[in-house]
């Protein structure tokens, strides 16, 4: 009876069980099915990350396509000692930042967004951050994040929103943990200040300006 020498279906199902690190090692060995499996696993988290950085889903998808392509092109550079997630996040993050820079010149004004949100706040009782819809939170974040430096924005997103540890964020951004903490502190401070200045209607009662209370 002939012995099965190779089956792509079997190989595909084997790869489903393997770790991210082993997957990247297989990709380093020119395994295209391993790349397919990586795309299956990471499309969701990476599109989400890119979307949160860019605020545009189509652009986020484009960035992630290129990120996977880069992973393939640079596969021989992956070192098994690295965390696979941080390596892929790093590639995506850098591409998203490049995209953001190229887009800055054609950035639209955020004034209409603010007016819309103000109207929403007027229609709701009291205007509370807790009542905001996710889409509205995204709009506010995109507006305020424009005031952050690239590093501050990335640290805030990776640490506060994506839930990476300080060490992982440091690996993604190629800096020290103390730098991550410093960026995070400044990002939070700046976001709080801008949020209260631009959207005083969402501020807690004890922090609202006097005329707002009157």
């Amino acid at each position: 009876m002939p012995e099965l020498a190779y089956s792509s279906t079997r190989h595909r199902s084997e790869l489903r069980e393997t770790t991210d690190r082993d997957l990247l090692l297989a990709i380093r060995g020119d395994d295209e099915i391993a790349l397919d499996e990586l795309i299956r696993r990471k499309t969701g988290p990476l599109v989400q990350l890119a979307y949160r950085i860019l605020g545009d889903l189509e652009e986020a998808r484009d960035v992630v396509q290129v990120a996977f392509f880069r992973v393939w092109e640079k596969r021989d550079r992956f070192d098994a000692r690295w965390s696979p997630n941080t390596w892929i996040y790093r590639i995506t993050n850098n591409l998203a930042i490049d995209h953001l820079r190229s887009r800055k010149s054609r950035e639209r004004t955020t004034e209409p967004v603010r007016q819309h949100l103000r109207q929403v706040a007027d229609h709701r009782s009291g205007g509370s951050l807790a009542d905001l819809r996710q889409g509205e939170v995204m709009q506010i974040f995109q507006e305020l994040a424009a005031e952050l430096t690239e590093k501050q924005r990335m640290v805030f997103l990776l640490r506060e929103v994506e839930g990476l540890s300080s060490q992982e964020v440091a690996e993604v951004l190629g800096c020290r943990e103390s730098t991550v903490r410093n960026h995070l502190f400044n990002a939070r401070k700046l976001l709080r200040r801008e949020l209260l200045q631009r959207y005083p209607e969402y501020a807690p009662a004890d922090l609202r300006p006097a005329e707002e209370e009157a």
């Binding site: 795309i39 396509q65 807790a130 995204m138 501020a203």
Partner: protein, 181 residues
Amino acid sequence: MTCPDWKLLVAERDAGGDDPPGWSTAVAHMDECDGCRRTALAADPTLVFRRLPAVDVDRAEVDSMRRAVANLRQASRVMSEAADDAAPRRRRRRLADRLRHAAAAAVLAAAGLGLWFVGVADDAPATRPVEPTPAVATAAPWAAAGLPVFEDLSRPHQADVYQVGEEDLTVVMVVDETLDI
């Protein structure tokens, strides 16, 4: 779980930079407890950004991503092969260009040498106080140019001007045998 003291937690977090003990439990509780969420957001409004929308990625999108990445790889392969094919053609073209330039340089050098020789032949008698003879004058290269255009250009020099040429190129030679260069 009882609602935590958010003011205290946020203050500890701001002071230390990292999450204080019990932070992750408190945040998980905040996601479920409406009152707690309002207190937490009052203590730190940036906590609202934890609710940035998640992106739902279905199987169709993953398949579309796979195809897009495969297309990018295919395009890259085609470009790289085209670049490999074009390389020998570029080398051949560069070599032909170099040969053409070398040939043009050789022709120019020969022409320059010829002109220089004419100049030397012209100047040589002038370095010595020798009277030109009719025989020398007829043997001189510019004799082919025919009769001088201007004779006795200026005294005391004995300068003659010769003109050789067709429509495209006209060479004017000023010959003064008395000059010592």
